[in-house]
Symmetry: C3
Subunit: 95 residues, 3 copies
């Protein structure tokens, strides 16, 4: 299985979650993060202006399709980072 | 080394941490997350009802045993997700 | 690409971020964590005394150099954990 991690502006969270649902992802986790990127520092204190990190477990083919859609639909317009890694999941049939 | 990640209801955190200690894990990190799963949306605003993500670094054999115990002792009764990945750790002798 | 994760005391965050900048990292994320380690339990409620988890995406050679500097400059004096894992990043040319 693949763990796909997406870091984006908090105001984009609903849009990314909707994309995950469209791709058939069975659940995700999200949490606020602060840090810095090409757009400069981001504070988590003002949550509307902060960043959020989303993580979702999906099959490799879904991960590939998800990353492609993120790239074509959102990356051009927003400050985002996305990456995937290999994980071994308990009860993978759930995903 | 293996990084084992467990996402569960926050009220289960103490029980999972106790399990980690029994398995000989030398420390862990935890942080609140929100998101959605088979049990529906979870808000981190009401921390008692929220989810928590725990992460622990352990040797492969411990990771295997830990995942087995999670599956047999907790997964049947609770909404949980657990997975492991390979990591290279500084000072692995500490773990 | 490598994802380098560093868990340290929150009061060290600025120092680690400065180290990341010196190494040429193009952004990072950070978030408060609680948990336990060789130094005992850490609560995230008192943020000055809590721990923080930092994550940065870098090329393998930078990851290696970063881990070496963490080991030689900070690990002897502070309670820290650091590890790296392999990830596939969208738009890796950004990093």
């Amino acid at each position: 299985m693949k763990l796909v991690t997406i870091v984006c502006e908090a105001i984009l969270e609903d849009r990314v979650v909707e994309l995950l649902r469209q791709m058939g992802a069975h659940g995700h986790t999200a949490f606020p993060v602060h840090g810095s990127g090409n757009q400069g520092d981001r504070s988590a204190d003002i949550s509307e202006l902060g960043n959020v990190q989303l993580q979702v477990l999906v099959k490799p083919a879904i991960a590939e399709a998800l990353l492609t859609r993120l790239q074509t639909e959102l990356f051009a317009a927003f400050a985002m980072v996305a990456y995937e890694s290999d994980v071994r999941v308990l009860r993978p049939d759930k995903f």
